[in-house]
Amino acid sequence: MNQPRARTFFEKVWDEHVIADLGDGAFLLQVDRLLLHDVTGGVVMRELRDAGRKSDSPAQVFGIIDHLLTTLPQAAPRDGWSPVAVQVISETRHASQALGIRLIDVPDPRQGITHVIAPELGIALPGLTIVCGDSHTCTLGGIGAVGWGIGTSEGTHVLATQTLVETRPKTMRVRFDGALPPGVSAKDMILALIGRIGAAAGSGYAVEFSGSAVRALPVEARLTLCNMAVEFSAKYGFVPPDELTYAYLREREYAPQGAAWDQALAYWRTLPTDAGARFDAEVEVDATSLQPQVTWGTSPQHVIPVSGRIPAPEDCVDAATRALAQRALAYQQLAPGTRMQDIAIDVAYIGTCTNARLSDLRLAAGFLRGRKVAAGVTAICVPGSSTVKRQAEAEGLHEVFINAGFEWHNAGCGMCGSGRGRLQDVRVISSSNRNFENRQGQRTRTHLASPLTVAASAVAGRIADVRQMDN
């Protein structure tokens, strides 16, 4: 009898979800979880209703309020950050009720950023297909799920049928081997990777992160790693599950319990990539040589070690890349050759679906203890979920942030997109995932970095290398 063909994790999950082969590479897939947040999910619910359709599998759908919510600590009651945001949240709330789906609403103690609470509550599980009108749904790959971002029309299709028509992507494996040096985190791994392979390198691929450095990462750091798959244009990024994943998920609210847990666990253990399985592309990164990374431009590929100087556009490989670098420098108001550590900052921001989990806040607070934010710097910490916030407060981390001079916010997407009218014409060092022009507010100049680098920079008043600030 023939041995079964060696398959990758992604192939196994994909094969398990195929309802119908529609030909020419397109498949009708079963969708295990649909997440609908207030910005794009609200539109999906509205369009389903306008089409006169109903939710096919309401039990598999979660509504979540995160994007439009104010995170300001003094806001009571908490609601949308602008009048129209208040209306959209209200509409999402009513539509969720009418559809009979679960809604994790503002006053809910479980409330938070979609990609933070989905693993936290066990909504995301290994081997599940999870979609959301949000490109950072790839984050959920960190728990061994296959999550990806979809549009509004696709979302309406999923809500109506609990299926999706999807073209099978190619597979890529990115191996990080060796031990990470001190001061270097998952955020630095992913930024360094994007700097090397470019912001478009993952287009058309489902990306598996592997290697000893990835296996050594706790689950929360794996979520950070997968969060930025889409920043090199990979719609899907994941770390196949292992014992750390299972330990993380046990007893989570929507994770299977009792005998169902044992059955699930036996199944999950069959999912990792088989020895000898082939990928369409392979990339290898030596984790031992990585340094803390910071972006200088307006694409995530505009990234260098914090110890470096801004490269000259003339050194770019082609005319288009050169033009992009020149435009980025003009937007960022920076000159080639500038030392990253000479760049003064106005705002230091810790938050978002990339880096606002408890482990991120612990790292930042560990550095901030006994230190002060530099004069003239606005420092903001927005926990990724109300659960994270409560846990951090139980450990006294909020006092560390507040004593250092940080604002300590309520949970939500905060100032990642649009800046909430607060960030304008400023230079921000941010633990978020996008440094696009105007992303964090009009004319806001964003530098992406790890929470540790953000904390160090907040104290220094300029972009700082945490490795040189010990003691």
């Binding site: 397109a26 539109v43 039990a59 029309s153 287009s203 288009a320």
Partner: protein, 218 residues
């Protein structure tokens, strides 16, 4: 769904790579109670100057490109956020086709569902077409695109470039088909899949929420 068969129209060059969906429509235009008016946000930060007046240098503010229906863009156009507001804003401002060496994966799918055909051509061809458009070397700054034949044609010349599209999405766009109806035709396969899947992966199916569905209150 809106269909697309063929089009001859003004094409505007915007050859920068990695134009992300935040640039196509900034986040501040996304919180809204109706999808109408998304076009107002199209390239909002680029279209206007700091004082709110139109930037005369921005390509889509200049004739003849202010009535462009085709955009010729750099690689990885539409990368970043999944917001379907991006193709919708383009469509509301009259765009029916986009030509680029590559597109963001989510954006690419979203285009087909909004009456826009995304055309992938080789980088050197895109570069050549874009440069000639910018230099006014193509008659009327026009291009012809046919989804039926899968070809881009430069009017008044013999130049024709073939392009491929995923067959299912192509047929949906050509015929303006309702994707949900297409899927519901597979209802039997869906039901039979779920019967066996529920046995195999029972934990993947959650219990119905504890609260009963209610009618929306105004």
């Amino acid at each position: 769904m809106e269909s697309f068969t063929r089009l001859t129209g003004v094409a505007a060059p915007m050859l920068r790579p990695n134009i992300d969906t935040d640039q196509i429509i900034p986040t501040r235009f996304l919180a809204r109670l109706s999808e109408d008016g998304l076009g107002e946000g199209l390239f909002a930060e680029w279209r206007t100057q700091a004082d709110g007046t139109p930037d005369p240098d921005f390509i889509l503010n200049r004739a003849p490109w202010d009535r462009a229906q085709i955009l010729v863009a750099g690689a990885n156009f539409g990368c970043g956020s999944s917001r379907e507001a991006a193709p919708r804003a383009l469509r509301q401002r009259g765009f029916r086709a986009l030509i680029a060496p590559s597109f963001g994966d989510i954006f690419y799918n979203n285009c087909f569902r909004n009456g826009i055909v995304p055309v992938r051509l080789a980088p050197d061809i895109v570069e050549s077409i874009g440069t000639r458009l910018l230099q006014g070397r193509l008659a009327g700054c026009e291009l012809s695109i046919s989804l039926e034949t899968g070809e881009v044609h430069i009017p008044g010349s013999g130049e024709t470039f073939g392009f491929g599209t995923p067959p299912l999405l192509r047929r949906m766009l050509l015929e303006g088909l309702d994707e949900i109806e297409l899927t519901l035709a597979h209802a039997g396969a869906i039901a039979s899949f779920r019967r066996s899947d529920r046995q195999r992966r029972p934990w993947a199916y959650l219990q119905d929420p504890s609260f009963p569905p209610k009618e929306a209150t105004p």
